[in-house]
Amino acid sequence: MALTAKTLDETEYFYGHKACAGCGGSLAVRIALKVLGENAIAVLPAGCMSAVGFNFPQLCFGNNAIISTFAGTASMLTGVQAGLKAQGITDFHAVGFAGDGGTADIGLQALSGAIDRNDDILYICYDNEAYMNTGIQKSSLTPFGAKTTTTPAGKNIHGNLRQKKNMFEIAAAHDIPYAATASVGYLNDFIRKVEKAKSIKGTKYIHILAPCPTGWGVKTDETVGIAKEVVDCGLWYLAEYENGSFTLNHEPKEFSDVSEYLRKQSRFRHLTDEDIEIIKQSRDKKWEFIHKNFKKEK
């Protein structure tokens, strides 16, 4: 039976951290560790979660945790699991928590290598759609139109010109044993996916969308609501990849208003109606692809 709020481990493994109020990334880390338990060994590259979790002497992890190089999350995970196996220890979960920049830009090569070797690790990407820790610079997972300090919104160029990189399908293209997308707005779905990944041998990749109130320009209490809305309006989706095929876990009956979702956030406030039309078109194109290639959950 799937874990719920009532059956989840009551112990907190990520506590007293210095993340901004309402941080989506810290919620993802906290919940994942509660599912994995005290035998999880967390590896965190440079990024928000290492910056807020290891403020010496304040050590916010209740389990073993270590900071890796920015590019080396997956390679350090490989080392952790190899080292433990060499000592004859089998009861552990090597888990990495990297941000969108640390995954899709800087750590992609190491992740690709780990998937190729099929090392027994779980890699969780908490995607807040920019380099938030260093002050909101564009990453390859920043969506079209978003204003960041390196893609400012002006008269001629309206924020980020590029579409969000399709990191989930890039991981799946390696024929990885298990990959999934999630959102902190749908935590029960995320819990089920971490639980499933926990039981699978080999490399697992979970991509969780985790809003950042500071970088997205929303109020601190809107994190969870906006993470739900991005799924409901179709700009993000909940899916899994397993045994060579894609499954869609959640299909909104009818998409909620995209412009309403965008207008709530100050990073999108400059967008014109034409810009929003482009975003809607790319959403529809994506869903056409999903309907064609993803199985529906029974």
């Binding site: 009532k6 506590y15 002497p57 050590l59 601190t220």
Partner: protein
């Protein structure tokens, strides 16, 4: 083991560990000062659904007698619990 607040805050070189870090979960400072507003639970209205506990980014809400309680040492007052509560049992009060 839940990370917990230590009574003694290291202040000299002789108290700093000779390895690379302290043990896991070594907390020396509170986050309470970050807050402008604090969530207050109405235990009469609370039905113990634990949604606020699940969605708290800081994990400061825990179970107590079928209801919930808040650790004000580490609550940052983000207000997610108030928004997620289906029965309206949490209100935000200004910090004095």
């Amino acid at each position: 083991m839940k990370p917990y607040l230590r009574e003694k805050i290291p202040s000299g070189f002789d108290e700093i560990p000779d390895t690379t870090s302290y043990e896991a979960g070594y907390l020396v400072t509170k986050n309470a000062g970050w807050r402008n507003v604090r969530p207050v639970i109405d235990t009469e209205k609370c039905v113990g659904c634990l949604n606020c506990y699940l969605y708290c980014p800081d994990g400061v809400i825990s179970r107590k007698d079928g209801k919930v309680q808040i650790d004000y040492d580490f609550c940052k007052g983000c207000g997610i619990c108030k928004r997620i509560c289906r029965v309206g049992a949490i209100r935000m009060e200004a910090e004095k």
